[in-house]
Symmetry: C2
Subunit: 231 residues, 2 copies
DNA sequence: TAGATTGTTAATCGATTAACAATC
DNA sequence: TAGATTGTTAATCGATTAACAATC
């Protein structure tokens, strides 16, 4: 499954697909526990509220191959998704900022399941430094740069106050970080080769609230004009 | 700005645009503090690492109008975004599940700034019930349904263990909830009229890690073939 | 064999980007 | 006036959906 040195560069999997794969994975795991050997894309689609064709395309992107009339083999498909999402290759990551959210992330047991080892947190607040959360130490912020370098940390979680976001980012970048999972509402300035994944919680909530408002207007209009509900 | 009863239904604003608006808002606020009266889409685009044309389109969607050669008026543009994202109309919301993540959300002061009033949390754990986090009470889960109904709560944050996600969702739906901000890794089954915004943290981290892997392969290939870096 | 299900190729849809006219 | 900047219309791009052939 992993490409040989001379294999053509695998086509990058679209982000929407990547975001759906964990749902397939979870559902197919359930099928395994239920001792089922095969699962069809129709079953998956129905359970997850998706289009069966989309499920097929998504699974195809992982390299999973189905058998007509039978469906996808549970074991090999789980393997394909694991391989695709890198659940196998364990990777050490750092957390910067041990506030409420940071500590919640520190305590979160889910990372290990998908191949991440959250090693330590860093914070500038002396009251927090030296404490542990879920067995993970909170270290002095000044040690961040050196440890990123020495431990070849590639991914950092950024959960500091907005005001400190860019400064901490600059430190991380100078220390050689490759990717930042950004929980601050700041758009970070980084060199091209550094990846940033924004997790702007307030923005997501705003989206939801706006969509709610839209649906209110729409259903109001529909109740006036008697427009039938579509699928 | 808000549509009159007979106005045509405003075109729904695309989700990608909605997610970018908070960044514009924050930056333009900064301009206001710097006593600037106008801001151009070029300035915005540069500061946020976006395409100027995209910024223009996004602002247009909020109803903001710019002046050629001058740019967008800071005050009225901020108003337009506030109006568009509903920062004005305050809304009560509930949190279900007061674990680490839930408590972090309870303590988060940002919701109020964008018009949300996180009133209370609910949890099934008697050890948590009765406590307060940041002045917000944690209430007995059995009271959830009744209070959603009585207080006409429209939006709930779901931060319960995955195993309880669907059950709690069913309760919320029966109580008349209109939208769920879902922090569990479960795809919730809900009636058509109920909105769900998924916040699947593990999925996001997987995406980041996968993109990192891709970029490694790519930059390796480039270093072999000497492909010049593009903008 | 017949029918269910996958895989592939084409059509659609929506968001982004480009080109250019309008205007302060 | 000239030039910078917006607004609009068209082109591109990528993801989703549809149609249909292949196959167990």
């Amino acid at each position: 499954m992993s490409p040989s040195p001379n294999a053509p560069t695998p086509v990058a999997i679209p982000e929407p697909t990547l975001k759906r794969l964990p749902y397939y994975y979870k559902f197919i795991q359930g099928q395994r526990e239920a001792r089922r050997d095969f699962v069809s894309c129709t079953t998956l689609a129905e359970a997850l509220g998706l289009n069966p064709i989309q499920v097929r395309k998504d699974l195809q992107a992982t390299g999973a191959v189905g058998r007509p009339k039978v469906g996808y083999h549970v074991e090999t498909t789980l393997d394909a998704i694991e391989e695709c999402l890198g659940y196998h290759n364990t990777q050490d990551i750092f957390l910067v900022g041990a506030g409420h959210l940071g500590q919640a992330l520190l305590a979160y047991p889910g990372f290990a399941e998908i191949g991440f080892n959250l090693v330590a947190a860093f914070d500038a607040d002396p009251a927090k430094v030296g404490r542990e959360v879920a067995g993970k130490p909170i270290l002095e912020a000044s040690r961040l740069s050196d440890l990123v370098r020495r431990m070849h940390i590639q991914i950092a979680i950024l959960a500091v106050p907005a005001a400190a976001a860019q400064m901490v980012t600059d430190t991380l970048v100078r220390a050689g970080i490759r990717a930042i999972w950004n929980f601050t509402p700041t758009r970070l300035a980084v060199p091209r080769e550094v990846l940033v994944q924004d997790e702007n919680l307030l923005a997501s909530l705003s989206v939801l609230s706006k969509q709610l408002e839209n649906s209110r207007v729409k259903s109001h209009k529909e109740s006036i004009h008697g427009k039938p509900e579509e699928l």
